[in-house]
């Protein structure tokens, strides 16, 4: 088989197996209109550096996509913040809200975290990577990522408590205060 053809076949295999995952990775992290550019740039790099791609290409590809997203984000950081806020508002719970499990609440809590914490949680939670793969994406030792993941999860739990309390406080402000509360003294 011609060398170039075998390279192209390998690239096509990698593309078919990972395109959706790279697309989803970008879609979660950047405005919809920029996703195709990120995916295209990622696979262009992959083609150029085909020899570098390991047998399990996904962490490698997501590592490239992460850098491409980072570059794109820097130019539109403000727009992204607005978009995220708008998204959180759009998903605000209605009458059947279940605050402890509500995705808007979790997203609001995620927003409170640092980028580093959020990235650790979403690589595993959203992109379905194992901690080892996620570590490869970020480029840190896997054991360090593991520690980071645990700390990020802990901070998310705290942030959820705060988000819930804020939601409760907001709900209480909307309710009329009772005229008389016999339990008040010991509440």
């Amino acid at each position: 088989m011609d060398h170039t053809n075998s390279e192209r076949e390998r690239f096509e295999r990698i593309f078919r197996a990972n395109h959706l995952k790279v697309h989803a990775f970008a879609r979660r992290r950047i405005a919809a209109e920029a996703v195709d550019d990120v995916v295209s740039e990622t696979f262009t790099v992959a083609w150029r550096r085909l020899d570098d791609i390991p047998d399990d290409p996904l962490p490698w590809l997501l590592g490239v996509a992460r850098n491409v997203v980072g570059t794109a984000r820097r130019g539109e950081a403000r727009r992204l913040r607005l978009q995220t806020r708008a998204q959180a508002d759009y998903q605000a719970p209605t009458e059947d809200r279940e605050p402890k499990l509500d995705s808007a609440l979790v997203n609001a809590a995620l927003e409170r975290l640092s980028e580093r914490d959020r990235e650790a949680l979403t690589l595993v939670g959203w992109d379905g990577l194992t901690p080892t793969e996620a570590a490869a994406v970020i480029g840190v030792p896997a054991n360090r990522f593991r520690v980071r993941l645990h700390r990020a999860a802990r901070r998310l739990r705290w942030a959820l408590v705060a988000a819930e309390e804020e939601a409760d406080a907001a709900a209480q402000q909307e309710r009329p205060s009772p005229d008389f509360n016999p339990q008040g003294a010991v509440a």
Binding site: T4, E7, E12, F15, R16, H19, L20, H23, R27, R28, A32, S40, F43, T44, W47, R48, R49, L50, D52, P54, D55, W60, G63, L101, S103, V106, L110, R112, S114, L121, T122, V124, W126, G128, T130, P131, T132, A135, A136, I138, G139, V140, P141, A142, N143, R144, F145, R146, V147, L149, H150, A153, R154, R155, L156, R157, W158, L160, V161, A162
Partner: protein, 389 residues
């Protein structure tokens, strides 16, 4: 009481459920169309320049600690898949599925259930070889964990790569989820928070004591932002025995309710005297329950390091574990990851009784008696960033 891995998995479940990915109708990507586009835009033949070794090595190196991580990550590996395991007993005979399930359950139990007031100690050496010998990394880790409140643990980690002259080292203790770290280059221990002050006075009734404690403890460099409602002290009435335990350090004032008002700003409130939820176990090797399902037959005589061993293989994660047949403690694991192979050998895995000598293994101050002690949020966070802890 939830173990750390359970809490992590529960939290990740919330994150998964909040996945914002929601393609609108017609927005779903078309892989074949995208492939056609990209093939039309990239050059037909790739340039033959030398590969960017540095980046490759970064990626390869990033898996340097993967054996440790995979070992500890297994307990949160996505479950519900088609994980298959084979189990060989200590004589190398493949056991029946029912027996295998029993063995896996016993190993799980041995690795997760410990009596109080003990110290778990393990040391391991890991080695990773990359594809074609491209990268090779070695790391060693030591960890001591208390099985009782305040669940202190001390971990050291050293890693190096044949592609890099640098050597990473980190060392820290954790008590009640609060980290202290040691910087060897400055021979300094950084502690983020001074112990909360408490005062004991006679209680309202005979045989009782009143503990006066700060109403809240702040874990942040922005302590001045403590809300007014959380300032001041609180009084707790405790029994004679609780007061004795408090004085001796067996029990302590713990703050249960973490309340963050903003990023990097956490307040622990609701003080009480007692124990704290067991936060340990997150860095110890564990065997996921999902391994029990689906067993594969194989036959080998298993001897490892001169002793009888039980071999458990997970096909889904390309991981094989060997456990001592006598103690059920881990001896070794081998993990495949693409073209790389990572081997972890447990040179020590034992449970120490909680003597003063073994408890001192949990203390950074004891490990570095000449170290300077710096207490304060700002210095701690600076050190944390500098050391990448």
């Amino acid at each position: 009481m939830k173990a750390g891995s359970e809490k992590l998995e529960a939290t990740l479940g919330l994150v998964r459920a909040a996945d914002p990915l929601d393609y609108a109708e017609g927005e779903q990507p078309d892989t074949e169309a995208a492939l056609r586009v990209i093939l039309a835009t990239v050059p037909a033949s790739r340039s033959r320049r030398a590969p960017r070794r540095r980046r490759v090595l970064t990626l390869a190196g990033s898996t340097a600690g993967a054996a440790i991580a995979t070992v500890v990550a297994l307990n949160i590996a996505p479950s519900g898949g088609s994980e298959m395991a084979s189990v060989l007993n200590q004589t190398g005979v493949l056991v029946s599925p029912a027996r295998a399930a029993q063995i896996v359950a016993r190993v799980q139990r041995q690795l997760t259930h410990f009596a109080p007031n003990e110290i778990i100690e393990f040391k391991l050496i890991g080695h990773q070889t990359g594809a074609g010998g491209l990268a090779s990394s070695t790391w060693s880790q030591s960890l001591w964990e208390s099985t009782s409140s305040p669940y202190r643990e001390l971990m050291t980690l050293t890693s190096s790569s044949n592609q890099s002259a640098s050597q990473d080292y980190s060392e820290g203790t954790t008590t009640q989820d609060i980290l202290q770290i040691y910087d060897p280059s400055r021979n300094t221990i950084y502690e983020p928070l001074a112990k909360p002050a408490w005062r004991l006075t006679r209680g309202p009734r005979g045989g009782t004591w009143t503990v006066t404690v700060p109403r809240a403890v702040v874990y942040t460099q922005l302590a001045r932002r403590l809300p007014a409602a959380e300032r001041g002290t609180e009084r707790l009435t405790v029994s004679d025995s609780q007061a004795r335990a408090l004085r001796s350090g067996v029990k302590q004032v713990v703050y249960d309710h973490p309340y963050p008002s903003r990023q990097n700003f956490s307040i622990f409130t609701e003080p009480r005297i007692g124990t704290y939820p067991n936060i340990t176990g997150t860095r110890r090797p564990e065997v996921p329950a999902s391994w029990v399902s689906g067993l594969k037959t194989r036959g080998l005589r298993v001897r490892l390091h001169g002793q009888s061993a039980i071999e458990i293989t997970s096909k889904a994660t390309s991981t094989t574990y060997w456990f001592s047949a006598a103690t059920l403690y881990p001896l070794k694991s081998v993990i495949g990851f693409g073209k790389t192979a990572m081997t972890t050998r447990f040179t020590v895995y034992k449970v120490l009784s909680g003597t003063a000598a073994s408890k001192s293994l949990l203390s950074l101050r004891h490990a570095h008696p000449t170290a300077r002690i710096v207490v304060g949020e700002r210095a701690f966070h600076a050190a944390e960033t500098r050391l990448g802890a």
